[in-house]
Amino acid sequence: MNDSFNMDKLFEQASRIETEVSFEETKRAFMKSLILSAGGVLATKGVLKVLTTKKWIIMISAITAISTASIVAVMSFAPNDKEPIETSKIIPNSSIDEVQDGEEELIIEPTKVFDQIDIAENEIIEGSNADIIFFESENFDPTADFVIYEEFENDDSSFIEIDANGNMVAPKKIIPYAERFEITSKTTEAELLSMKKKAEAAGIKFNYKAKIKNSKLQKISIQANIDQRNNQQSMSITSDNFKDSDDPVIFGWFEDDKGKANEMGYGDEKNLKCCTGKGTKCSEHHIHLDDGGFNNFIFSDEIEEALDELADLEFDINDDLKDVLENLEHDLEKMGEELEFTMNEIDFSEINSILDDLQIETIDLLDDLEIQIEELLQKNIDIKIEIEDDLDKKNREEKEIKSE
């Protein structure tokens, strides 16, 4: 009985023992568990969302790391002595018009084609263009010596005038040619023949060679000689390429009382030039026979050499572009080979170890993030519970006041 009494007493004490955990504490813990427990709690959805994005973050980190590692590896394995690749382009002068304003720097290469150079042009066009016609007189000598001209005072010294005061003055009087000719691009072969006849009638051996392109005189070379006992003169004129706007080639001769030519002149009467000698070469002048058979004056050896070089240039824009493209292709192939070689040289195990470390670090970071989020959530829950407690207390107080 004593034992039974003691046991009942013990049970009674146990049934009256003070609770260690209050209702409020239990409620708080319950609320926390309720919110954090999986399944349908809005607050946890955010956490779960973060956790589901974990995989994505890891994947993106891995991809970024691989890309970075590849770039670093390529940069580090690239040969240092290789010249940097220029982003600029070389564009021929002929395509300048096509160049639009862009971001890339343009280096305009000096043109290598000179349309104005007859020699080069003739080389290209001759024989392939049926519109070009050469014709010359029978005795035209393409190897004839060239003639040296000098300024000629073309005034009549015997010409005297009396001025208003009655004084005798001798003003400059230009003596006109007895026969004057102007050759332009419109000059025809018939006109040239007419000149020849007139010259021969005046005692001048007259020969010419003409180049006609598209029915227009493009170039003319004239050889004229006076061969008399006391007077021997030669005149040799080779024009530049005629253009519509160009000044004409002017020449003529003076005649004696018998109507025979005694002096030939080149140029306008006001700026007349007459030949003073002849030869194949002098200190300043040089004769050049082009492929068309025309002899040309070259004013310095350097220019002639330059023209020769230019004439030798067989520059073709298309060929040049092809070369550029071929070079580019070659460079690209080389780069591709170097890239392959570099990729083979890359130590992927090292990259993988770096990636592993990165992944571990990422996971650690995410874990920390998860913990921080949980802490924040718990803080929020605590705050919420406290607010609810306060509200409950207020409600109770209101109820008590009402009941009172």
């Binding site: 049970f11 146990a14 049934s15 609770t19 349908g40």
Partner: protein, 177 residues
């Protein structure tokens, strides 16, 4: 989360909190933190709160869930550890004051009982459930509950007597020296 449901649940729980807390403390003494059991039970109860037909049955509803939770926990743990005499000197994780030392001694003694006997005694003696209520909670017959109570008390008396004798022997030994 339904605020209304929460409030209703907590309003029903508040009056039975003390009894529930005592039950849990006595039931899992020496095994686990009774707060965990309370929490888990409340969560389960809240989940199944919609199935509760009458508010009067909330108490037995809560304890039934608690008993089932414990049963599931024990099944998972497959506890084979049996407390022996040394178990009495295991530090009580729930004891905080010396005033309730006798009660904790009772708790300790009850750990030697079978789960069914222990639960019956706690529910009947400490929590104050009737035999019918306990039979409902344990999902067994009333006669079984009575038998568990009787056998549990006998066993508990033995244990407490052994304990007191052991204590007295220890005291006597010390005096002889």
């Amino acid at each position: 989360m339904s605020k209304k449901k929460q409030n209703e649940f907590l309003s029903l729980y508040e009056p039975v909190h003390d009894r529930f807390e005592r039950f849990c403390r006595a039931r899992v003494y020496g095994e686990m933190d009774h707060q965990d059991l309370m929490n888990e039970t409340l969560l389960k109860a809240y989940e199944k709160f919609d199935t509760l037909r009458s508010k009067e049955a909330f108490l037995s509803f809560l304890f039934s869930i608690s008993v089932r939770v414990l049963a599931n926990t024990n099944r998972k743990k497959k506890e084979t550890t049996k407390l022996n005499q040394e178990a009495f000197i295991v530090k009580d994780i729930n004891s905080q004051t010396d005033k309730n030392a006798e009660v904790f001694m009772l708790y300790k003694a009850m750990t030697k009982l079978s789960v069914e006997q222990k639960e019956c005694l706690i529910l009947f003696e400490i929590t104050g459930f009737s035999i019918k209520e306990i039979s409902d909670i344990q999902n067994t017959s009333e006669s079984n509950v009575k038998q568990r109570l009787r056998r549990g008390r006998i066993r508990l008396r033995e244990l407490l007597t052994e304990k007191s004798e052991f204590a007295q022997e220890s005291k006597g030994g010390q005096n002889e020296r």
